[in-house]
């Protein structure tokens, strides 16, 4: 591997740019998507199709005063939004965008990503707690119980994948699915462990939506109940960072789903694998997440926990056991 000083710097700039562009324009994409689902136009005044809207929003957010309400825990209040961004950004380090575009191939990259995802939850917890606002505290408490409930089925499903591949490196997992969609984990036909893997995919996808606090699982910012949840007291760029963190988490979640189930950068027909396939897949997933958000009403915290404990966890456990049995038998 090339160990010159340029490689990390190039990747740093590249990933920062990728993350920044995504965080900003996914907001635009979401507004536009929501608007068209609701038969409106959405942003359209700033630039062609309102494409420069994120810049305008960014300027507006940055020029606003960062207000720190009295009675808040000053330091935590400032740290929380930054903490919302960092784990998502760091996760980019180990994500293989294609066979050779990956900043650091780490053997335990799966583990690293999930560890970082849990830290992201702390940002919300801290932000909510430090705000000293009752709505924010309720929201923080909800986030924790939700995250715990959804990380379990998510990790169980990931273990299934790890068992099939026999590796915890994202690079290896993606590599093992190369060459046509029939090799992808979701449709995997060879090797005996087959057919029901789409159940695992669904479980994983639902969990990743819940992990990123997106509707219909947006218990944390349920605006009709908790005003804006943990973000209630945030304004200007503090709010902006939380929003960007949320979108980055979605991007990371979509990347993970793509690598674990949809063959990473592999092309569905077996030729021309490359980064474009990867990007196409993650944006389709992101669009699906936006689409889901603007279709359903919000669930309620107990229903959400019920879904996790009564449906997702049993199913993922059965999935794990059956897969293990198949691996043993064949």
């Amino acid at each position: 591997m090339d160990t010159s000083i340029w490689r990390p710097i190039l990747y740093l700039i590249g990933f920062m740019a990728f993350a920044g562009v995504n965080a900003a324009w996914l907001g635009w994409a979401e507004r536009k998507g929501a608007a068209h689902i609701q038969r409106r136009n959405g942003p359209k005044e700033v630039g062609p199709f309102g494409l420069w809207q994120p810049l305008a929003d960014g300027i507006k957010l940055m020029t606003k005063q960062l207000l720190i309400p009295s009675g808040t825990d000053d330091i935590l209040f400032r740290i929380a939004p930054i903490l919302a961004m960092i784990p998502a950004l760091t996760s980019m380090v180990v994500i293989p965008f294609s066979g050779n575009i990956q900043a650091r191939p780490i053997d335990l990259s799966v583990l690293l990503i999930f560890a970082l995802a849990s830290i992201g939850m702390f940002a919300i917890l801290l932000g909510g707690w430090a705000s000293g606002n009752k709505y924010a505290v309720i929201s923080a408490a909800r986030v924790v119980s939700q995250s715990i409930a959804y990380e379990i089925p998510m990790l169980i499903t990931v273990i299934t994948i790890v068992m099939i591949t026999g590796s915890m490196s994202l690079q290896d997992i993606a590599m093992s699915q190369q060459g046509g969609f029939w090799h992808w984990n979701i449709f995997r036909l060879e090797g005996g462990h087959f057919i029901y893997m789409w159940v695992g995919f669904l479980i994983y996808f639902i969990c990743s939506v819940a992990e990123t606090n997106r509707a219909p699982f947006d218990m944390a910012e349920a605006e009709s109940e908790l005003v804006a949840g943990y973000m209630t007291e945030y304004g200007s760029m503090g709010f902006g960072l939380f929003m960007m963190g949320e979108y980055l988490n979605i991007v990371v979640g979509a990347c993970m789903t793509t690598i674990l189930f949809l063959g990473g950068w592999g092309s569905p027909f077996g030729f021309m694998p490359g980064i474009w396939w990867f990007l196409i897949k993650i944006y389709i997933l992101i669009f699906a997440i936006i689409w889901i958000r603007w279709t359903y009403p919000r669930t309620q915290i107990y229903k959400l926990l019920n879904l996790s404990w009564k449906i997702l966890i049993p199913f993922s456990l059965v999935n794990l056991l059956v897969t293990a049995a198949f691996i043993k038998v064949f």
């Binding site: 068209h36 689409w291 279709t295």
Partner: protein
């Protein structure tokens, strides 16, 4: 137990149906009116603030300063004065002021007027940051219109 499976399968189906509906809507044209670029046409009976009606023959307002509109208004928005010029029988309107900040656009004034002297205008895009801008001098408005 059957309820459990029902929830899972029936529920998933209902969710998919929902996704189908929003997906179809996504590709349909927008239905909203792009306001500043597209100006709505007001219905003939639209109630804007009131305005004076001009007499087609004389070119002067129809109003004979009877004061019925003023008395009929529930909120006291209308103030008017008139005087009898030398040598004429009828009073002539000298000032007709509408305090639009209080007006509820109910139309009592118009119904009270027996001389077809006031009507609803079709102005709707009124905006201002100052209260004084909503004290309309309708007589002046009538002059400006002609």
């Amino acid at each position: 137990m059957s309820e459990y499976w029902n929830d899972i399968f029936g529920g998933t189906k209902s969710l998919l149906v929902g996704l189908g509906i929003t997906a179809r809507e996504f590709f349909k044209p927008v239905v909203t009116e792009q306001y500043p670029w597209e100006v709505p046409v007001m219905m003939p009976r639209f109630r804007g603030h009131i305005e004076l009606v001009k007499n087609g023959e004389t070119g002067r307002p129809n109003c004979i300063v009877c004061g019925m509109c003023m008395r009929n208004c529930p909120s006291g928005c209308i103030t008017l004065t008139g005087k009898k010029p030398e040598g004429e029988k009828k009073k002539v309107l000298t000032k007709y002021e509408l305090d639009f900040t209080k007006c509820s656009l109910c139309g009592s004034c118009i119904e009270g007027c027996n001389f077809n002297a006031i009507q609803f205008s079709k102005d709707y895009n009124l905006a201002s940051t100052r209260k004084e801008d909503y004290i309309f001098d309708l007589l002046k408005r009538l002059e400006e219109q002609s």
